[in-house]
Amino acid sequence: MFQTRLGMSQDQHVRSYATESILGKRSEIVHSLLVGSCGNFDYNSIQSATNLLYFVVGVGEWSETEASVVESLRQAYFALGDECKTLTLRVLERCRQKILTPADLGAFLEEVWRIHQASGEESLATTDVVERFTYRFQ
């Protein structure tokens, strides 16, 4: 179990600086976590990556996070097609709104990771696997 030992009244500067540090690198963190979730991570990293992504999408302005996600998903590593890009964005927005839990995001990312494991070089956008995946998480 991990938890910070800082008291509620202690060191607002420290808390602010920690938050600013996260916000300053938010785009890079989001991008790295999405790339990793698309098959690059070791399977055992998915859980901690999920925890981090869930909280990073929850801080700062959503418009900025959304722009980071859209920009990241434009890149070639994401092989599931445009419909799944939209779905991914919607899932992260629901995490932001606390409609989805970290466990929900974990299930989503784990499935993304599994599908990419089998993808090879070509896009999977039109396969049955992706169609079922989209249906499940819509």
Binding site: T4, Y17, S21, I22, G58
Partner: protein, 192 residues
């Protein structure tokens, strides 16, 4: 004894790894004392504990800095007037496993320090004798702060080909998140 180990002839990175492990244990036991130690010289024994811990930590990072990855090195080069895109690659090719284990150990230690003594950690320069005492130093991201280098290195290591390094990097960033995002009640029940 720890200072003696660090100064002894031999492989400085392996010596630094031993010091990182020692400091992680020390943080486990004395982290709260470090967090609450006075910033200016007093008769309080915690002042000496914090001062010696800071120096040992900084010397260990100095010994192993060339094996801590590109982000760590890049900050140093930029400090010396070089632009970000001109930075040279660090010498990781010939000693990749040593590099990864050095950064893994460093991030594991710094995660522990974020947990027990974040104020102490955030006040440290990456070099001996360059620490500041002002609270406002936390906001200077262009300075040569240990945390700043570590955080950049962690972000760059999330997708490292060594999964252990990736896990340590994410763990360290999560420890930063847990300090910064205290308002989310679920954080306490979610992490680890």
């Amino acid at each position: 004894m720890a200072f003696t180990i660090l100064r002894a002839p031999g492989d400085s990175t392996n010596q630094a790894l031993a010091i990182f492990a020692f400091l992680e244990e020390l943080t486990d036991t004395y982290g709260l004392f470090l967090e609450n130690a006075p910033h200016t010289r007093t008769l309080d024994p915690d002042f000496d504990l914090a001062k010696q811990t800071a120096e040992l930590l900084q010397r260990a990072f100095t010994c192993t800095r060339l094996n801590l990855g590109s982000a760590w090195i890049r900050s140093k080069e930029q400090d010396e007037g070089q632009r970000a895109y001109e930075s040279k690659s660090p010498p990781r090719g010939s000693s990749e496993s040593l590099s990864n284990s050095a950064l893994c150990s460093a991030l594991s230690l710094l995660k522990k320090m974020m947990e027990f003594c974040p104020t102490f950690l955030l006040s440290l320069s990456s070099r001996v004798g360059h620490d500041q005492n002002s609270d406002m130093l936390f906001y200077d991201q262009n300075s040569d702060m240990l945390f700043y280098r570590a955080f950049n290195s962690a972000v760059e290591s999330i997708n490292d080909s060594d999964p252990k390094l990736g896990v340590e990097a994410i763990g360290f960033i999560l420890s930063v998140v847990s300090v910064g995002i205290w308002q989310y009640d679920s954080m306490q029940t979610l992490l680890f």
